[in-house]
């Protein structure tokens, strides 16, 4: 199972999908396109605290993708 983690007011919202399920993958890809279109950055998490990897294109094989909203200066 792969998971997309979207940061939001509730802490985060997790969307799990099975890479073997074409429908789930399609929904995940659509979500990826929508969020990155809104300015979110997708990061493939390493899981051990080491720097992850920026993801520019949807990859269903990434186990954990974190979506970070657009940054702003304070």
């Amino acid at each position: 199972m792969a998971v997309q983690i979207v940061m939001d007011r509730t802490g985060d919202t997790r969307h799990e999908f099975d890479v073997a399920d074409p429908e789930g993958v399609a929904r995940a890809e659509e979500r990826f396109r929508q969020l990155t279109g809104k300015g979110f950055r997708a990061v493939a998490l390493s899981g051990d605290g080491s720097p992850g990897k920026l993801v520019g294109k949807f990859d269903p094989h990434v186990e954990q993708t974190l979506f970070i909203p657009q940054l702003q200066g304070g």
Partner: protein, 276 residues
């Protein structure tokens, strides 16, 4: 000076009684200027997002400024943080010792009560026995007192939070979001910190990150904004950076986003950020 120390003791004492044995790390001391009819306030901010405030007299602040020769807000805050950390370390040690003693006392009382109960249930073995009802009543009174104390404390905390939100709105607070949201945010952050960063964060309320592009070191403190410092190889502050993700995110999410940004798109993040 002693007044400020007492005030810090009160603030830190609140955190200890609020969180029982798991005392959170003290991450910052906040100073809020007087505004309108409201007097200045001193706040203690902890690693788990807990924050508590108390009004402070300008004269007391001045005493600290004089004592530490800290004539700007940053130096004053730093001086107070040093002072508070010393006090907190002592208070934590005392608190843990007291918790241990109370637990021991309670264990002994429970064992005694249990023995008395058993005696009463078997009158043939000990027809005289001790006056159990009186002891049970004393125990119940003690329990009631303790519950009342907790309730009073909880209520004080609620009114403190209410006042804070009413005065400054939710946007001001560093611990925005429901408790559950904050916990989720912190959990997500912890899952994505390295063991060393996690340890550092739990102990000091901050963690260090290396810039993916420049290799510079940054220190991310617990908070939502103005919480990033660039540090040199000796751990001294070079400057501060302020950037955070849009939307009302909780502190854990913001710190994780800042970590990812520094590691993965440092130049972009610094271009957006404000330096202070």
């Amino acid at each position: 000076m002693e007044r400020v120390r007492n005030l810090l003791r009160v603030l830190l004492g609140r955190a200890l009684s609020q969180h029982g044995q798991e005392a959170p790390a003290l991450s910052n001391i906040l100073i809020e200027r007087a505004s309108g009819r409201f007097e200045p306030r001193l706040g203690a901010y902890f690693a788990n997002g807990y924050c508590t405030w108390a009004p402070v007299r300008p004269a007391d602040c001045y005493a600290v400024c004089e004592r530490y020769a800290a004539w700007d807000l940053t130096s004053l805050r730093r001086a107070l943080l040093c002072e508070a950390q010393e006090i907190y370390a002592r208070m934590c040690a005392e608190h843990l010792a007291e918790v241990g003693r109370t637990r021991e006392r309670r264990g002994m009382a429970a064992a005694l009560l249990d023995r008395l109960r058993r005696r009463t249930r078997s009158p043939a073995r000990d027809p005289v026995g001790e006056p159990e009802p009186a002891r049970e009543e004393a125990d119940a009174t003690h329990l009631r007192g303790e519950t009342q104390h907790r309730l009073r404390h909880w209520w004080a905390q609620q009114s403190d939070d209410c006042a804070r939100y009413a005065l400054f709105g939710t946007g001001f607070s560093a611990d925005i979001g429901s408790k559950r949201a904050q916990e989720r945010g912190i959990r997500l952050l912890m899952e994505n910190l390295s063991a060393a960063q996690r340890k550092q964060y739990e102990k000091y309320g901050y963690f260090d990150v290396t810039g993916g592009k420049t290799g510079k070191r940054y220190r991310i403190r617990h908070g939502r904004q103005m919480n990033i410092e660039q540090i040199d190889r000796n751990g001294r502050r070079v400057c501060g950076w302020c950037f955070f993700p849009q939307g009302s995110l909780v502190a854990g999410d913001i710190m994780l986003a800042q970590k990812a940004a520094i590691e993965l798109f440092e130049s972009d993040a610094l271009r957006i950020a404000n330096r202070f």
